[in-house]
Symmetry: C2
Subunit: 313 residues, 2 copies
Amino acid sequence: MHEKEIIRKFFAPLANNKESYGLKNDAALINQNIVVSTDMMVEDYHFKKNDDPEKLAQKLIRINLSDLAAMGSKPYGYVLNIAIPHSELAWIKRFSDGLKKDSKKFKLKLFGGDLSKSKKIFLSLTIFGKKKGKVHSENKAEVASDIFVTGNIGDAAIGYNLLYNHKKINCSKSLKSYFTKKFLLPEPRIKFGQDLLGKVDFCTDVSDGLYEELLCVSENSNLQAVIFLDSIPFSIEAKEILKKNNKTKMLNIMLGGGEDYELLFSSSKRFNNSLKINKDYIKIGYFDKGNGVKFVDSNHENIPINIKSFSHF
Amino acid sequence: MHEKEIIRKFFAPLANNKESYGLKNDAALINQNIVVSTDMMVEDYHFKKNDDPEKLAQKLIRINLSDLAAMGSKPYGYVLNIAIPHSELAWIKRFSDGLKKDSKKFKLKLFGGDLSKSKKIFLSLTIFGKKKGKVHSENKAEVASDIFVTGNIGDAAIGYNLLYNHKKINCSKSLKSYFTKKFLLPEPRIKFGQDLLGKVDFCTDVSDGLYEELLCVSENSNLQAVIFLDSIPFSIEAKEILKKNNKTKMLNIMLGGGEDYELLFSSSKRFNNSLKINKDYIKIGYFDKGNGVKFVDSNHENIPINIKSFSHF
């Protein structure tokens, strides 16, 4: 059973309230003014014991911040749960250094938490944002709306695979450090999320991979996402990797893998003029009648490519 | 390094904000109206794989609710993180049944969450309450205030030790089921916490054991908690166990062990009249000048007993 099915079957029935948006949004809106999201990182699945604890703390904060960005809300604070072997004092110290750095950078307050013993490290953070007038409340698009992303897709997934050797990728040492940094230290698009309030159909972060996020929105909207494969922004570095490796395999990693934390949104024609002047918003396709995700070339010809979504569960 | 020291050294500096109460309270108060607390349960440390998932879900909700009770706030909702092996679908189903039961009982809404793979089960819940006019904001007492608890102390800690055989206790089978139930299904004192608003110096739940909680408040207040050992309410069942086992060992379990989830509070004389009419508030001592916790008999004579606090870290 896939993560989404489990949530739909066992947890959505408990979330029959307006705050949760049916568990289909990036975050909840409680008390009409506080945005809440939660995310965890588990040793051996999201990171390895030897990874730098300072960076892990920053990543934990940033993946949660990305959900606030996708809601267009302003960072406020967080609570934190850490389960860890008792001996790991140096780890905790360095982890708290990372928290300090990003708490300052993103103006976040620590509100509380819990510390427990465990054999493997388990990190859980719940983040709070303040509503700025409105929020991006539903991941639902309109027909004929254009689809945009805020930056390069796939770098983080390449970094993940290089770091943990999940899929063998042919890559030089200098490029490897570029990709792993993209994976370890994502940049939450807080300002973009706020700027887009009131201008878009929906806004979400690409945390589960571009393909999976498009699939979700298509399902929620009963529409088909038509994507110009050549319009998806890839970094110069990713393009180099694409040349040196099997293209289908690499596209699967880059479009199916997650952790990019760019924003994905769609906008109907009436808003496009104000969006077009911003070079940070890259148009990659549009919504049409139908369902699922279709990749096409610039002549709107179907490109047969089978992407498999990556899941942490 | 003890849990409290780690929090003081590495996390309190990040929590230099009014919302967190310096991490010394049962919960935070964010946006001036939402009470937030978070707690986790880790396989092998807080529970065993074979424990009934339905009861674990209820316990996870209730230990968090107890923090809302200690703040005097009204239950609102929660977000939930679960890390679990992929094969445990039946476990998840039964766990969600428990969530459903107690969400209904305590009028709690599920707002969101995250599901991840892991070898061992990790559960993390962040709970939200609404402020009812005011909250129990600081765990600080006044000199000469009387100390009260809302119910029996020690049953849950006996249950914990019986269930997981941490400390050998001589106990009949029928009594064992009484104690394990007390451990597995605590009753959060939500109504008491609300009733006490404005009438007490402080209010906290006895989640870390009576001794440890008294020690914390004494430290925060620069006072000594003087406790009449014979006034501490023990259940008939616990008294029977006390008779059949080494008394010092049992008192260490009952006063040093946690998970009772009764409320502990103190009240200055001016409020005592309104409290005395409530038979649910049991007076166990008072605060005096000095520091630490002192156990005395009814003649105020010192009872030399060395209690060691239990810690999950």
